[in-house]
Amino acid sequence: MNIAAPQASALQDDSIEQPLLSVRSLTRYYGTRIGCADISFDIWPGEVLAIVGESGSGKTTLLNCISTRLPPTSGTVSYSMRDGVLHDLFKLREADRRFLLRTDWGFVHQNPADGLRMAASAGANVGERLMAVGDRHYGHIRETAIDWLDRVEIDAGRIDDQPRAFSGGMRQRLQIARNLVTAPRLVFMDEPTGGLDVSVQARLLDLLRGLVNDLGLAVIIVTHDLAVARLLSHRMIVMKDGRVVEQGLTDRLLDDPQAPYTQLLVSSILQG
């Protein structure tokens, strides 16, 4: 009855493309308590997927499992590596997983201090990933850092300042630049606008929207804020008590929510 969830239907697609990331029956228990259970979805290149739910709904557990920061109890997460082959992430060597995390992936934390080196300068924060993949030319690293500071609207004159001297919004933009500098194909974001003032939030969202479009990034963004999901995402997964309540096209979910819980979310947050 509902619009079909995008599981098997992916196969009927005429193109020979494959998903970038494929999650199947992912389950994570904390002891006997469910973190998240039986989650399946695909994400394709250039697609923005929002995982929405209230605190404790399991969305952060899910994000941490997908990004291999937390091992799942069961289920698989496969990723299409640059060789074009889908690899089960939890069968990769740790070295390969970590390499993925600092090259082909990004992770934007809610609290920028978790994702930045607060004692290193802005330029070093942006340049670190370049150096990690072997860039050994100071001039080039610095040029790239200046370019990225500009793209996230941080004045190039701040390049040698430490993020401690930055406002919350600037820190978050710096964290984004630090993640995007290696041109990742998939970026995870955990409440990226979480602790920010409304006006700062709007600017950041707008910036993110532009970057995602320009770079053709695939993004998995965890948020409790439906306005963030509306503005950034193509597709949404609504979670409650560790399970998927509903998933589909973002504007379909918001304009015509089907599940009782989604209706409650939509009516309570977007009223008016």
Binding site: P6, D206, R252, D255, D256, S267
Partner: protein
């Protein structure tokens, strides 16, 4: 009737289940059958609340479909939009079905020109080409050039409406859905929109619209689809 069909709707049904109000069921549409023909404009007719907007939204994928099919010619193939996965719907929106909504969803900090050019950029055109065509449309719709570089958030209703129209008309989509595009326009701009609709028809585009203004409706409609015929209560009776 030698012209080919762009979209075929059959047995379409829609109802809302209000889970927060004791699961009451609100049927809106049932058994809707109609076709959109290339190069013609069909107009949804019927009183307010008859479900005209709901049909438009189902055709664009904003509303879920309870029963029936919406078969659209996309990439040279018949594709049922009613059961399509989200990725497919996004692809159809990018390439085949355009939509002019009643209200502009304002994006902060994006200039009017970029708002208009965006759908063309997404469908793969170059930025310069898109900007050129966007400028042409805004010119035609008499939007003062000094506004082009500004975000439309502070524009008047009529100005926003024209941005919206330009945004919908800029692509070469083969199907165009129009939700009251002329509602807040003055006579001169209304005439421009009518002319633009005529050009789309001449280009073989299939249009489906909601127009409350009888003059406009008469001017553009090749067929009227009477939505009262799809009312669920009438069936029940």
């Amino acid at each position: 009737m030698s012209k080919p069909h762009a979209l075929i709707v059959s047995g379409l049904a829609k109802s809302f289940t209000m889970h927060l109000r004791g699961d009451i069921e609100l049927p809106v549409i049932s058994g809707a059958d109609f076709v959109l023909t290339c190069g013609q404009c069909a107009v949804l007719g019927g009183p307010s609340g008859a479900g005209k907007s709901s049909i438009l939204k189902m055709l664009y994928g904003n509303y879920a479909v309870n029963a029936g099919s919406i078969v659209v010619r996309h990439r040279g193939r018949e594709t049922d939009l009613a059961g399509a996965e989200p990725r497919k719907i996004l692809e159809i929106r990018r390439e085949t079905i355009g939509y002019v909504s009643q209200f502009l969803r304002v994006m902060p900090r994006v200039s009017a020109l970029d708002v208009v050019a965006e759908p063309l950029v997404f469908s793969g055109a170059g930025r310069e080409e898109a900007a050129r065509r966007a400028a042409g449309l805004l010119q035609r719709l008499n939007l003062p050039e000094r506004l082009w570089a500004l975000p439309p958030a502070t524009f008047s209703g009529g100005e926003q409406q024209r941005i919206n129209i330009a945004r919908g008309f800029i692509t070469d989509h083969s199907i165009l859905l129009l939700d009251e595009p002329t509602a807040s326009l003055d006579a001169a701009n209304r005439a421009v929109v009518l002319q633009m609709i005529a050009e789309k028809k001449a280009a073989g585009v299939a249009l489906l619209g909601i127009f409350h203004d009888a003059d406009v409706r008469d001017a553009v409609a090749d067929t009227i689809i009477d939505v009262t015929g799809f009312a669920p209560d009438r069936r029940a009776a």
